[in-house]
Structures are given as C-alpha cells and as structure tokens.
C-alpha cells in the first residue's frame, strides 16, 4: 500500500507554525499556486508506521550478510552516526565564517591528512560526492594538467575491459574517447596490448588494483612506467582500496590521482544508494588542479583554500563542500581504527575472501581465477551450471535471498560469464561465512534435483520476480490519484 492510499483530504498533519491562511499581499496572483499539490495527508503515526513497515522489506547489513562484490558492505559503527549528528555539527551553516568553523574544519583537515597517509598521495580534496564524481574530478585534473603543459593532442583514455562502467562514462564526460585494453586469463592487464595502445594520444589510464576480477595487478610498476613514458597519467579507481589498506599505497605504485569511496573503505553508510563520497587524492604535480574547497592549516588556524589560492583548480563540484556529514563519519571511523586498525582491515577482508573461495572450490564451485590468491573479493562462475543444469547466476542469487543472504554482485565484471562477485568484508565472522557456503551447497543440490524450482525463486520475499519488461514498456514512474 502506498502512503498516498492512507491519505484523506483535509487531514491536517504536522504543521510547523501557522501563519493563518492570508496569502502574501506583495506576491502577484499569477505567481501563486492555485491547486493543492498531491502530497499525502496522513497523521504522524500513519507516517511512522508506513515507513517503519516499508523498512522491514529491505535486506541490509544490520539484518543480513550482504556480500555484494565491489561495494564493501562492512559494518557501520553506530558511534560514527551518533557523533556526526551532534547538534553542533548539524546546525553549522556551510557558509559560516572560518572563526565559527574551527571544530568542523579541524576534522576535515585531519581527514585529508589521514587519507594522504593511507594512499601515499600529496594532497586530498574531499568535495566529490560519490565515486563517479571523484572519477570525474580525477580525469578532469588529468586534462587540466595536459592543457597547462600545452599538450592538447592527448584525446584518449585507456581503460581495461574489466573496468566498472563509470570509467568509460566519466572519460566521455571529460571529452575523451575511450580505448579498452584486454585482460589476460590470469586477471592481469595484457601488458603487450597496453604497450601497443599507448602513444602521444594517451591522456591516461584508469585502473583498479586489485582489479574488478579480485586479484592484485602484479605488473603494476611496469604498467605505470609504460603509461608515464608515453606522457600519460595514471588514475586509481579506489573501489577496492579495502584490499590493500595499510599494506601498499596507490601513490607508491605510481598512481598520479586516486578517488576513495569513503562509503566503501571507510564505512560510511550506503543509505539505500547514497550519499557516498569520492574524496580525491593527487600526487604533487596535480595539486594545483584539485577541486575546491580544500582545508589548509596555518599556525593553529584552519582556513579554506579558494580560487584565489588555487587559480588552476578544475573548479567546484558541489554548491558547498560535498557530503560533509559523510566525511565526518569517515573521520570518526578512521580515528577509531587508528594506524594499526587500517592494516587489520585489509588482512581480515582478504582472509575472509580467500577462506570463502577455498571452501567453495572444495565444494565443487569454479573460481574464475582459481590459481591465485583472491584480494578482498573473488569471482565464482556458474557457466557449467548454466550449460548443464540450465540454472543461471541469477537463479542462485534469487535463491540465496530465500536462505537469508543478500546476493553477491551478479553479471559483473562483464568478462566472466554467469558470475557472482563475492566480497565478505572483514567484519563478518567465520560462522556467518560458513552459513553462506552451506547455502551455496544447498542451492547446488537443488539445481541438480529441481532446477525448475530455482527459476521461480525467491519464495519468501514480499514479492517474487518482477516483470521488468512491463516496467520499462508501460512506464509507471509516479502515483497519481486517477491511476
């Protein structure tokens, strides 16, 4: 039932303050609204009950194991939320003067410093509001850098074919064409193909390491050298930073610019699809181009760097300074972990992934890259099941929901047929992981005995499989009273 279906005309609800019904005398009638907008008219209790019961139709980290590959669904410590929502932080106006902002700015400055430390970069800007915006900032800086050197013939961004779809989409938004580089069967970038592809037209390479295939790119130094020698820059997609935190740093691998998804690695909430944060780190030579604002420290005072300080900046990416509340949560999380905790994140997320992969392999599942250690995530391919039993990765995913587990990422990366990309994260216990493995084994048995049953899973959710063709053809994107 929709909230609108609880509505009754004339039910006055949560009126903040009453001004009476006198319309303003200074506003001409033709600028006023004549009809009543179709918002629901419901009581506070109806609202609370409706949205509480809707929430119960969601799987979440708080309620279920959520091994969604490439998304790092780790525990979100409650202290981060509670402290980021202290009244003093919530009430701070984004344009409040610096002298009324030192407490907040101290947190932001220290966050910048900690991010530089864990990534090996020379500077950080916190303003991008999600990974995709961080990517945009990064590629725009690459372009600004080449332009500032009068090097305007570089028109091409290289992207491995295993890359996330945002990489090519971002390159296009920055006015570049995209060339895909093939990946070898062992998961590494095809270095020979890369050497063929680079040249005076190369603006840069966008790379995730560990890659979306869940393995560490072993030839990273040679890749960096190849791109740099051709005059290009190296962009690090931080989606998989959790795998290497405190072990190895993108800056030391030769990357010139990186974005970090704070909602992945640094545990800010995923919120049903945001808000995220795509804070962006740069090597020394890209510092002049960072998006603004950035916090600087002079003596014991913090101040904002603006266009006056950084005339070559690529500009502003949000009306203020990005998702500040998210940044506070990441700051608190990093302080709780501390330097020794950072390392543990990569160690235990990697331990969990490799244990899970080993167990699944032992039960007959096929890993996409079976002979290498996994990073913090790994891929199972159900190609054989699809061919022999007519059971797809989607069928496995849907049946997992019945058994109380959120499905892993399905059908990504596009290179691996019928794949499940599984990322347990460090915060899951062995017990939970063992339960998931048993569920996979059970579904395999069901596939062998009753494939048809799997085609119609799930059975225990509020709805079963939805008609997506109808959704796309008979578009129903908003409720109205006459529907």
């Amino acid at each position: 039932m929709l909230i609108f279906e609880h509505s009754a005309s004339g039910r006055k609800t949560k009126i903040q303050s009453t001004s009476g019904n006198d319309l303003p005398t200074d506003i001409p009638a033709e600028l006023l609204r004549k009809d009543k907008p179709g918002l629901p008219e419901v009581s506070e209790m109806q609202t609370v009950r409706h949205y509480t019961s809707l929430s119960q139709k969601n799987f979440s980290i708080d309620t279920h194991f959520y091994p969604l590959g490439s998304c790092t669904m780790k525990h979100n410590p409650r202290a981060c939320n509670t402290l980021a929502m202290l009244p003093g932080f919530l009430a701070r106006h984004p344009l409040a003067p610096e002298q009324k902002s030192q407490g907040f700015m101290a947190c932001m400055y220290e966050l910048q410093e900690m991010l530089c430390d864990v990534t090996g970069m020379a500077g950080f800007s916190l303003t991008p509001m999600a990974g995709a915006q961080g990517e945009f900032a990064g590629v725009a800086m690459i372009r600004a850098y080449h332009d500032s050197n009068g090097d305007t013939e570089r028109k091409e961004i290289l992207v491995p074919n295993a890359a996330h779809g945002t990489n090519p989409a971002t390159a296009t938004m920055c006015g570049y064409t995209v060339k895909e580089i093939p990946t070898l069967a062992d998961g590494d970038v095809d270095l020979a193909a890369l050497k063929e592809a680079v040249g005076p037209q190369t603006a840069g390479l966008m790379l995730t390491n560990p890659s979306t295939l869940g393995v560490f790119e072993r030839k990273i130094e040679e890749i960096a050298k190849t791109v740099h020698e051709a005059g290009g820059l190296l962009y690090y997609d931080g989606a998989n930073l959790n795998a290497i935190l405190g072990k190895i740093r993108p800056g030391d691998m030769g990357f010139d610019v990186i974005h970090s998804n704070l909602h992945k690695t640094f545990s800010t909430p995923h919120g049903g699809g945001g808000p995220g944060s795509g804070a962006i780190g740069v090597a020394e030579r890209l510092k002049p181009f960072m998006p603004l604002p950035v916090v600087a420290k002079e003596g014991d005072q913090y101040r904002w760097l603006t266009e006056k300080d950084c005339p070559q900046s690529i500009g502003r990416m949000s009306a203020f300074m990005g998702n500040a509340g998210v940044l506070l949560r990441a700051y608190i999380y990093m302080r709780l972990l501390g330097r020794e905790g950072m390392q543990r994140v990569s160690e235990f997320s990697t331990l969990n992934a490799n244990y899970m992969m080993a167990q699944l392999k032992a039960r007959g599942f096929q890993a996409a890259i079976p002979d290498r250690y996994a990073s913090h995530e790994f891929i199972i391919t159900l190609k054989k099941q699809a061919k022999e039993l007519n059971v797809s990765a989607m069928d496995f995913a849907k049946r997992l929901l019945d058994l109380g587990y959120h499905a892993p990422t399905t059908y990504f990366p596009l290179l691996v047929p019928e794949c499940l990309l599984i990322e347990p994260t460090e915060s899951e216990s062995k017990e939970e992981i063992d339960g998931f493995i048993e569920a996979m084994v059970q579904i395999q048995q069901e596939a062998e005995t009753d494939a048809e049953m799997l085609h119609n899973a799930p059975y225990t959710m509020p709805v079963n499989r939805l008609d997506e063709v109808r959704a796309a053809k008979q578009l129903d994107l908003a409720w109205s009273s006459d529907k």
Binding site: E468, V469, A471, A472, K473
Partner: protein
C-alpha cells in the same frame, strides 16, 4: 541456431540489408541480434531525410538489460522508418526480417551492398562468436 535468410546481406554488427526492386534498401537487425538482446522495450528511429555514412550509429534498440546501437550498413539517405515499432518494439523479436524492418535507405551507390557479407559468411561469423 538462429535464422539467416539467404537473400539478404549482413554486417558484423548484426544488421541485415535487403535490396528492393526500386534500388532502395531496407534495413533491420538479425534474428541472432534480437535473441541476444532479449525482449525489446524501446527503439529510437533515425531521422527521415538524414544523410548518413556507412558505420554511423543511426539508431538505438533497448531491452531491459542491454542497449545496442544500430550502425548504418551503407552510405545514403534515410527514406522511411517503421513507425509501428515505436509502440511495439517487440515486433522485432517476433519478426526480425519482415514486420520488424527498421528503416529504408536510398544508397549513394547501390553497388556498395556487394561489399557486405552474404548469408554463408555471416553464418560463419556467428559460429565463431
């Protein structure tokens, strides 16, 4: 195995081309292409009167999980488009080579069609995929 009529010409990007008696050509996507895309939910047709070069992306077909550009198989002017597809793109799923035609073109040089694949070459390509 998908259907590949012998009287048509084909491209590697899975368009088919039929030479009509009046020297125009009719263009659509192959049975293999519609099958790979799945249930089509939307089509964006080319503009009638537009001059396009071989290889230009001229329209888009979408299913729920995929979108695919259709590339101009032959240089020429777009003469007509199949308006029935706007409301019912699934016609392509049901009849890729007949009712599911997408647009008609007046080629600059009708002989260009000879450079496209014949049915057996296209079938051989499908085998390799």
């Amino acid at each position: 195995m998908s259907e590949v009529p012998t009287d048509l010409r084909y491209t590697s990007s899975h368009e088919w081309v039929r030479l009509e008696e009046d020297g125009t050509v009719t263009i659509g996507i192959t049975d293999h292409a519609q099958d790979a895309l799945g249930d089509l939910v939307f089509i964006e047709l080319p503009e009638v009167g537009a001059d396009m070069a071989q290889g230009d992306a001229c329209c888009v077909v979408e299913s729920v999980k995929a979108a695919s550009d259709i590339y101009m198989p032959i240089t020429g002017e777009v003469l007509d488009t199949n308006q029935a597809l706007v409301d019912e793109p699934e016609i392509i799923n049901n009849s890729a080579y007949d009712d599911g035609w997408i647009f008609k073109v007046q080629p600059d040089d009708v002989d260009d069609i000879e450079q496209l694949m014949d049915a057996s070459s296209y079938e051989a390509e499908l085998e390799d995929e």
